[in-house]
Amino acid sequence: MIDLKHINKWVNSGGNRVFLLRDINLNVNEGEFISIMGPSGSGKSTLLNVIGMLDEFGEGEYNFLGQPVHQLKEKQRSQLYKSHIGFVFQAYHLIDELTVYENIETPLLYQNINTSNRRAIVADILDRFNIVGKKDLFPPQLSGGQQQLVGVARALVAKPKLILADEPTGNLNSKQGEEIMELFKQLNSEDRVTIIQATHSERNAAYGSKIINLLDGRIEK
């Protein structure tokens, strides 16, 4: 599904190249649950952003579902991630001015799905995540765990093949974090959604089927 070959990414700082990612080779098959680990600044988020096509890279090849991402134009790329990738963030990143229902609905709006279909899909997911009662609340009225639940629901609503989660439990207490991890595991095993998460915590990383360690932008073998 994902095939990264010799990916390098750097920034220029005072005439020097500072490498953020260095010769990354990574192959992810559908249905995998991968945890990326590493200390702060090791390049976890950068790697996720590259995979999510939110960020560019300097050199290398990236094939996603057989499409050469490195050759695609901005528009095509966004079309690609829009229909196949869902994102979950450490800080949830919900739109504060929209209700839970509307937040979850947002990705569908950008995919030209008609109103009644949208209603059905969102209702489904609210039901599944047990947050039907909260659908008319605004994000600041929810606890962190509940907000992240909404975040995951939103990531899932467009039925992506891949979920990218950047420290999804970083802002949560351990119990809330565990719930989210359980949810991921369930999604992975029952819905066959591919998941890549970046995390600090060994415990969370253990939920994955494969762990990749990053240090200074390099994958540690």
Partner: protein
């Protein structure tokens, strides 16, 4: 999708109430007053266009060339209209209008003085489209003593709901039959009247005017056939001089030609003397259009600035939307939609405000707009386009700017630096400052000049002089003498003089004279009127050489001239110089017996011209110099005396100073409009600044707090923020000064009497802008500086 966008727009709107109100308030003020200016300008541009055949109607103007002077008049001669129709196939119809003096009309108990009266040919209604409420335009002015009146007059004389046609109106001497009632002549006409009397009333049995090509008294209008080339027509009229006028004018070396003037261009473009109504001015059209545009621009800039400055708050939303799949285009549309929504809310409020403020605007602009006149498809379209303009201009930059954020950087927390393009915002603020400054300087200079010309020594004493006019035939003139003697004996009246005109009055004649010079003779048109021996002393005009008139013996013998005339002819010794009427071979002459000090006969737009005064006793315009004492009782007493002599005439008076200054009414009106708008411009700019500093200080809150922790004082912080605005104001002055100088320098050129440009308006205007800017900026920065640093740094 749309619902989602509108929802978020509304929720954001409510969440940032103050910000939204600021935005809408600024836009509303901008739009409301731009609308007023646009109404003003379109009204000025649409003068006389309401006639169905407006584009084919022309007024024939006379261009008269004397040896040393050109006189261009809207007037022509009585025979012209019929001759044009007869001789030129291009002319489909022609008609004359001849002004009638102020007349007292009576119907039963109702009697009023009317001033807007014209004699008119019956063909006038074939040319102009005046709407008849009663009567038949084809026949209305056929018979002598027929009269067509406006609806207002019909109500005034005959009451509402009664038919006026068939009723009669009386003057002291005549009886007129009402044959038609028309809708009032619209305000935007180059010529307005309340009454039209059939031309045959004065020309019956008195045909001598019909062949007189020598006197220019009436307006001649022609309706040209479709497709006629006016330049060719003008050329074709040139030979008329040889045919009709050369026999009279050639011996005086006077030449003349006609020119057909499109009536739609008269109001703004006519450069003729003696127009029947006050003209507009193309330069004001440009100025007002520019002001309207700039107001709207400033308001849009505010919106743009506030929205981009505030973009940090929306950045997260943008990032999320992008990550969840929104395209750039969708985001652009979303933000444009929001700004259009704001703009249209402002447009809606503005429309209501316009209706509310209409009476106020009418009173300062002198227009007579009503809700009815404004409810036109054009104005609806205008509102829509203003909404679109401000919405798009104000929303475009934020929309494109905000939607081009890279989601990664936003979501990674680079929010606080996403403060918009600082340089662009600064440029826009400089632009606003410059515009405000220019308007302030111009207002100041205009006002200073208007004050200056009112204070200037006019050469006569205009205070406490009351003017009353006796409208009566020659046979009653002797009564004036007796009445004036009674006036003189009144304790409240110091002096009484009479004349056929007075300073500032329009009715002086320009006559051709043969004037003796140091070496020979020369012909020249000179302005002249008649006065009695007390006229000059009543007005405090001094004789500097020779003597004043002494009485009846001076009639047809003596004249008094002004210094300008002495200078014009280069007389070494003015006294005894002779003046004759051209063509008069009888050997009669008048002789200069006195030279008076120059005074301003006309407004200060005109330099003082040569003036020649004849002697005549008992003229119909009486000047009363009032003494100290209660003016009201003096007037009341004067009225009782008047009633004794002229019981049939109402006693009406005016004051010389007010009358003279009424010549500047047009400029004063425009000055007021301009002042109102420059204040509004500054207000809008301040609103923008208020919002802008609120957000920039918010962004700098962390910096401010750290500085505070490190020991800086509140004042230091305020200075830190306001310093920027000082710089911007300085740059703005560099732009505003030359522009304002250029415009005001040109404007002042129109006044032969001007104060020149002083530095003060420039310096003070710049200071005003600096002070308001700094004050607005300090407001927020002080607030920021006073916030406890711990609170800020904890949340960062």
């Amino acid at each position: 999708m749309l619902k989602n966008v509108i929802l978020i727009a509304l929720r954001n709107f409510i969440k940032d109430k103050w910000y939204s109100l600021l935005n809408i308030l600024g836009l509303t003020i901008g739009i409301t007053f731009s609308l007023f200016l646009i109404f003003y300008v379109t009204d000025e541009l649409n003068y006389d266009r309401y006639h169905e055949k407006a584009d084919r109607i022309y007024r024939i103007a006379s261009y008269i060339q004397e040896r040393d002077k050109n006189t261009n008049w809207p007037y022509s001669q009585l025979p012209l209209a019929a001759t044009l129709k007869k001789d030129f196939p291009e002319v489909e119809e022609s008609a004359r209008l001849l002004n009638r003096e102020r007349t007292l009309f009576k119907s039963g108990e109702n009697s009023f003085y009317e001033t807007k009266i014209y004699y008119a040919d019956s063909t006038i209604f074939n040319i102009f489209s005046y709407r008849f409420i009663e009567g038949n335009p084809a026949r209305a002015l056929n018979e002598p003593n027929s009269i067509v009146i406006s609806k207002t007059l019909a109500v005034k004389y005959f009451g509402k709901n009664t038919s006026a046609v068939g009723k009669t109106l009386k003057t002291v001497y005549d009886l007129y039959k009402v044959t038609g009632v028309i809708e009032d002549v619209p305000q935007n006409s180059h010529l307005r009247f309340d009454m039209l009397i059939s031309m045959s009333t004065i020309l019956k049995g008195n045909q001598n005017g019909q062949d007189n090509w020598g006197s220019f008294n009436n307006f001649t209008y022609v309706l040209l056939r479709p497709g006629v080339n006016v330049d060719a027509f003008n050329k074709k009229m040139l030979p008329m001089y040889d045919k009709y006028m050369a026999p009279i004018f050639a011996k005086f070396n006077v030449k003349m030609h006609y020119k057909a003037q499109p009536i739609t261009s008269i109001h703004l473009h006519s450069d003729l003397q003696g127009e029947p109504e006050e003209l507009g001015s193309m330069s004001y059209i440009w100025i007002f259009s520019a002001v309207a545009f700039f107001m709207m621009l400033i308001a849009s800039i505010n919106y743009m600035n506030l929205t981009t400055a505030r973009s940090a708050r929306r950045a997260k939303e943008i990032g999320i939307r992008k990550v969840t799949g929104s395209s750039k285009k969708q985001l652009v549309l979303q933000f444009l939609g929001e700004s259009l929504l704001t703009a249209f809310i402002a447009v809606l409020i503005s429309a209501l405000l316009v209706l509310l403020l209409l009476p106020f605007f009418n009173s300062i602009s002198g227009k007579t707009f009503t809700i009815h006149t404004l409810m036109q498809p054009f104005n609806t379209l205008l509102l829509l386009s203003i909404g679109l303009f401000t919405g798009l201009v104000g929303g475009s930059y934020p929309a494109f700017y905000l939607s081009s954020f890279r989601p990664v950087s936003i979501l990674k927390g680079a929010l606080s630096t996403a403060s918009g393009n600082v340089n662009l915002r600064r440029t826009l603020v400089v632009l606003q400052f410059s515009i405000s400054m220019i308007m302030l300087i111009c207002t100041w200079v205009v006002y200073a000049q208007l004050r200056y010309i009112q204070k200037i020594d006019l050469g006569f004493n205009q205070e406490q002089v009351m003017i009353v006019t006796v409208n009566t035939g020659q046979d009653e003139r002797h009564k004036i003498y007796a009445m004036n003697n009674e006036f003189r004996s009144m304790p409240g009246i110091k002096d009484v003089g009479t004349g056929t005109a007075y300073p500032g009055s329009g009715n002086i004649s320009l006559n051709l004279f043969t004037v003796q010079t140091n070496t020979g003779h020369t012909d020249k048109g000179i302005e002249c009127y008649q006065i009695d021996e007390s006229f000059l002393s009543t007005l405090g005009i001094k004789i500097i050489k020779g003597r004043n008139f002494s009485g009846l013996a001076d009639t047809l013998h003596s004249i008094v001239v002004n210094e300008a005339m002495v200078k014009h002819f280069g007389w070494d010794n003015a006294l005894g110089k002779r003046v004759t009427f051209p063509g008069d071979t009888s050997g009669n002459y008048v002789e200069v017996v006195g030279v008076m000090k120059d005074f301003n006969q006309k407004s200060l737009y005109n330099p003082i011209a040569p003036l020649l005064l004849f002697y005549s006793a008992n003229n119909n315009i009486i000047e009363l110099k009032l003494g100290s004492g209660d003016i009201k009782t003096t007037i009341a007493k004067a009225e009782t005396i008047w009633k004794k002599y002229f019981p049939q005439l109402p006693f009406e008076y005016k004051f010389l100073d007010e009358d003279f200054n009424s010549q500047y009414v047009a400029d004063q009106k425009r000055g007021k409009i301009f002042a109102a708008f420059s204040i509004l411009t500054i207000l809008i700019t301040c609103l923008g600044l208020l919002g802008l500093t609120a957000f920039t200080t918010q962004q700098k809150q962390k910096e401010i707090s750290i500085r505070r922790v490190l020991g800086s004082s509140t004042l230091d912080v305020v200075l830190l923020i306001t310093k920027n605005y000082l710089w911007l104001a300085l740059i703005a002055s560099c732009i505003a000064f030359p522009v304002a100088y250029y415009f005001m320098h040109n404007w002042l050129k129109a006044f032969p009497y001007n104060d020149g440009l002083s530095v003060i308006p420039f310096v003070v205007s710049a200071l005003v802008i600096v002070v308001t800017a700094v004050a607005t900026a300090s407001f927020h920065s002080a607030k920021a500086a006073l916030t406890k640093p711990a609170v800020v740094l904890k949340t960062e």
